[in-house]
């Protein structure tokens, strides 16, 4: 009986460790740039619901789980306004530049899923 419990515990631990490995390995990167670089003009940015730290020198490279993440910006009334969706693939980097001089700020994807770069709101790696 005790042996079975230990075996079960061991198997559970192994499964947990394995799932942790998968979680770690299934990540890609997001590079966010702001133009112009001046920090004062950039309202807080959110990736999903997570608030991002202030971008150093207008640039940040973030590790992100594989999938689609929504980049949002804090509007004047405190609500979040979606800017664009970022598709993250394993060990690949998706780059987006946010033009903060425009009102409202706008995403400029380095690569887009559709043919129209200016209009697309989905950035790919």
């Amino acid at each position: 009986m005790v042996g079975a419990v230990w075996r079960f515990a061991g198997a559970s631990f192994a499964a947990l460790a394995l799932s942790a490995c998968n979680f770690e390995s299934d990540t890609g990167f997001i590079e966010i740039k702001t133009v112009p670089i001046s920090l004062a003009t950039v309202p807080p940015l959110y990736l999903g619901s997570e608030k991002l730290d202030t971008l150093k020198k207008g640039n940040a490279v973030l590790r992100q789980r594989v999938g689609t993440a929504r980049l949002q910006i804090e509007a004047g009334n405190g609500s979040l306004a979606p800017l664009c969706d970022l598709v993250v693939k394993k060990n690949r980097i998706t780059t987006v530049t946010i033009s903060v001089v425009e009102r409202p700020p706008r995403c400029q994807c380095r690569n887009t899923a559709g043919p129209d770069r200016a209009q697309s709101r989905t950035c790919i790696s």
Binding site: K56, N59, V61, R63, N91, R92, S125
Partner: protein, 225 residues
């Protein structure tokens, strides 16, 4: 077909450059440790923890990838030599894995970067506190302040080098994915070329069959002709 894909030596050069950047970052970050030891002799151990942890993480990062440069260079050479598209793609995937791991460590939300920010904030806070500290004699206080200033400068340098490494790795990852995308495009061209070949063969077969049919029709003579 493989010429434009594997020919450019600048790809290899950029890989080696990135390694050089990493090596520079690791070497530049290394002086944090001696300064740390100095400060450790004079300050309580709990005060130094974030800075020490940062130095330890940088050290670990250095140890984790002792043969990274060789692996990158070997893989880049293999890609240059290989003519098999699948193999080339696998090599690039492996390289992306290596670079991804490195970039993960130095990314803005990665362990080392966050520790660096924490270490810097802690050291600056400590300096501010010491500047108004009344417990010590003037020269003792000045001594401690100088040590913390030195530590802050070195940590800032390490953080700057981390920024450089981050940019280089991000750029390298982009180069690798562009190459991989190019290989994918080539594979699509190859598949399209294969499709054209099949269509041509089919056309030829249809034409042959048509010719045979024509000659058969022509060969049919009505009775009495």
């Amino acid at each position: 077909m493989t010429g434009p894909m594997f020919g450019p030596r600048d790809g290899l050069r950029s890989l080696v450059l990135v390694w050089a950047a990493l090596a520079f970052f690791v070497v530049a970050a290394a002086p944090v440790r001696p300064a740390l030891a100095q400060v450790q002799q004079t300050l309580p151990s709990d005060a130094i923890t974030p800075v020490e942890e940062y130095a330890r993480q940088v050290e670990q990062l250095k140890k984790s990838y002792p043969d990274l440069a060789k692996r990158i260079e070997d893989s880049a050479k293999t890609i240059d030599e290989v003519t098999d598209v699948d193999k080339a793609r696998k090599e690039i995937e492996d390289l992306r894995e290596i670079v991804g791991n490195m970039l993960g460590a130095v990314s803005d939300n990665g362990t080392v970067s966050q520790l660096g920010a924490k270490a810097l904030a802690h050291a600056r806070g400590k300096l501010r506190t010491l500047e108004h500290e009344q417990r010590f004699k003037q020269e003792e206080r000045q001594f401690l302040v100088d040590l913390w200033r030195k530590l802050i400068t070195e940590t800032e340098h390490a953080t700057d080098d981390l920024d450089t490494a981050r940019k280089e790795f991000a750029e390298l990852l982009r180069t690798l994915q562009t190459r991989e995308d190019f290989i994918d495009e080539l594979m699509q061209v190859r598949r399209a070329a294969e499709a054209i070949r099949v269509i041509r063969e089919l056309t030829k077969e249809i034409r042959d069959a048509s010719d045979k049919l024509k000659s058969l029709i022509n060969g049919i003579k009505p009775p009495g002709v």
